[in-house]
Symmetry: C2
Subunit: 408 residues, 2 copies
């Protein structure tokens, strides 16, 4: 098995293409593909006018993208328009697919998304991963990936890469899980343990959740803080449409922002961190509930039924979130805050106190807080779409890979 | 007087140059100029090998930069080397100058910096600006700017733009001071009130201080948080060598991160903000000192003399800074924290408790905290250098302006 190339980290600026004729061609290929994807079906003339290149230049680029199987011609446009009818272009439904995977504390999931953004295949396996070592979990994940890849290939698509969302901190190499406390993984190299022959990227689930919100959410601004939860509190900061990663790749640790600096000790070494007030375990404890399998579902159900203890615990968690987010908003000045993941499910009971707290601590209008429509699906979709994005951002590179491996 | 163009905000990615032959030429002009500035004197052949273009292409670019008076030839290189001797190139000492200005609470300052980074002229006026309205202050600043421009022109330089550092929040238009509480300015348009005929940029003093640290500091990493103070606590976040500005331009408000959420009320509308523990007024109050003219100097002097009250107040301020910075470090994962401005002067008494607090709240190695060597000079130097940077980043644009106004 040949070692596949590792793709650039998702949601970042990518490797800058060289400033040469060749680099310019590659950037223009990307521009054509992005334009057709966002606004297609479009004729060559329409693409040319949208991106400000000549029709001849666009035709050459389009021919190349058709050869790469990234664009397809839908046949002549309907008559009745002025001039010679052109053939409408659309992104291919049988080209590359992005494979996304998620290692959750209680489940594994894999899906394939095509260039048009459609989910074409999906596989889920329920069951806890907490007490297991990384090897059997990743063996199982490899089998799920193969299943989804087989189904995808049966539909005429080819896998352009795999992106894996994990509940932990990932090194900037994009493959090593430095620590995932709720899985008890430390310095786990997924590149070694996943037996898949395609470009691999591993990232924190909060990062992929935020990217899903950025790419798929309605009216998501380019500058926002995305807060999610799976046992711990995760957050991701998006600035100008790009993830802020930090020096080691550890940015977005909202869960360890001090809320009451003399509060209870936290596993991070600090005291009174947000996680001690709004983390799943803290909320369960404050509610007087025992930790079980579907913890978020249980909290939502009890709150729905009017359980006073649960409602009070969620209100207090919202207040703590509001204090920590006041700090984040003052530091980052985002356009909005989005609650995703498990927090989206609990939003009805968290939001009132969270918004109160933010408003109380802000002189002007408070930073708007909204709830993700993707909820727990965010990280998996973000992972798959991040692979699709790498194709859209540099179609020439991925076409080369497809040719090399003989699957294109 | 013709309205001069407004330059792009400093420390940002700038306006992306169009992806055309013309844009490529402009980017390559910048590349040549940056290379000669950083590593010169250099021959054309040495520039060509460093930036990976042919010698012929570099020669054309160099000729253009000489015509713009941005580069100059120093004459033939000393003999004894292999091949035909080339003429060494250096950035011009008589080309454009960046004019920087600072509106402090207790002073006004202006300086001019040439392409080589040398300060060529400087003017300062001491005296409080707190009780005065914006008009007379900016009239006085205009006079200081003219004085510095005259001196600069007498040396054969021409002013390429003016950048003004203010102790307040600046709108993203780069000219309107939204609020500067310690000057009592609100929605003050410096573009209207400053009678200068050159491109103008206004920015927060903390931002310019951070940029000075980035450009002039020794071993400053590309990802850091810069904390400074002039009455309020200011901070700036630099990510990948660029300022993080926020949606409204208000990012970096570390002074209003909650430290003790039930603490004293703050003018921002919040409670227990960092400024209530580490701001100048809070420290003076805790020290039992009356606010006077040179407040920071007074604190440093008393601490030096061993005044227990002052030392205790500064230790407590360091602890509060450590709590707020724990939050910032968790959110941003910077490579380091730099104390600048007035905090640099007080660092000996702030640092021990600040570092303790950060270490206490961090499981792994704590984020390193260093002290700026620029201290209170940072904002003024950062402002002047930001103008020089706009020239280096797009020499063609500024050459056009120079030609248009007839000063080039």
């Amino acid at each position: 098995m040949t070692a596949p190339p590792h793709s650039a980290r998702p949601g970042g600026p990518g490797r800058p293409l060289p400033d040469t004729q060749q680099g310019m061609r590659r950037r223009n290929l990307s521009r054509v593909l992005h334009t057709v994807r966002a606004e297609g079906p479009l004729s060559r003339a329409a693409v040319a006018s949208r991106i400000g290149l000549t029709r001849a230049a666009v035709s050459t680029l389009v021919d190349e993208l058709i050869r790469f199987r990234l664009l397809e011609e839908l046949g002549p446009e309907r008559p009745g328009r002025v001039g010679r009818p052109g053939s409408a272009l659309a992104v291919s439904a049988t080209g590359p697919a992005g494979i996304g995977a998620e290692v959750g504390v209680d489940h594994l999931a894999v899906c394939a998304v095509d260039l048009r953004g459609q989910v074409r295949s999906r596989a889920v396996r329920h069951g806890g991963n907490r007490a297991r070592s990384a090897e059997p979990v990743l063996e199982q994940l490899t089998r799920l990936v193969r299943q989804v890849v087989d189904e995808t290939e049966a539909e005429g698509l080819w896998p352009a890469g795999l992106a894996v969302a994990v509940p932990g901190l990932v090194a900037r190499d994009g493959r090593t899980v430095v620590r995932a406390p709720n899985l008890d993984w430390h310095d786990t190299d997924l590149g070694e343990l996943l037996a898949v022959d395609m470009p691999l990227t591993v990232d924190n689930e909060a990062n992929f959740g935020a990217l899903a919100e950025l790419w798929l959410g309605e009216r998501t601004p380019p500058d926002f803080v995305h807060v999610s939860a799976e046992i711990g509190i995760g957050a991701a900061v998006v600035v100008d449409g790009q993830l802020l990663r930090g020096t080691r790749g550890f940015a977005g640790e909202l869960g360890h922002v001090p809320v009451h600096p003399d509060g209870p000790a936290c596993r991070c070494g600090g005291r009174g961190c947000l996680e001690q007030y709004a983390g799943e375990e803290a909320v369960l404890r404050a509610s007087g509930l025992a930790p079980g399998e579907d913890r978020v579902g249980l909290l939502a159900e009890k709150a729905e039924q009017g359980d006073e203890n649960v409602r009070r615990a969620l209100t207090d968690a919202g207040t703590a979130l509001g204090i920590a987010l006041t700090g984040a908003v003052n530091l980052l000045d985002p356009e909005g805050v989005v609650l995703g993941g498990a927090l989206a499910e609990l939003a009805p009971w968290l939001l009132p106190s969270l918004r109160d707290e933010l408003a109380r601590r802000t002189a002007g209008p408070a930073c708007p807080v909204s709830v993700s429509a993707l909820g727990p699906q965010g990280p998996l979709l973000g992972a798959a779409h991040s692979v699709v994005r790498t194709v859209l951002d540099d179609p020439a590179a991925i076409a080369k890979y497809a040719t090399r491996t003989g699957t294109g």
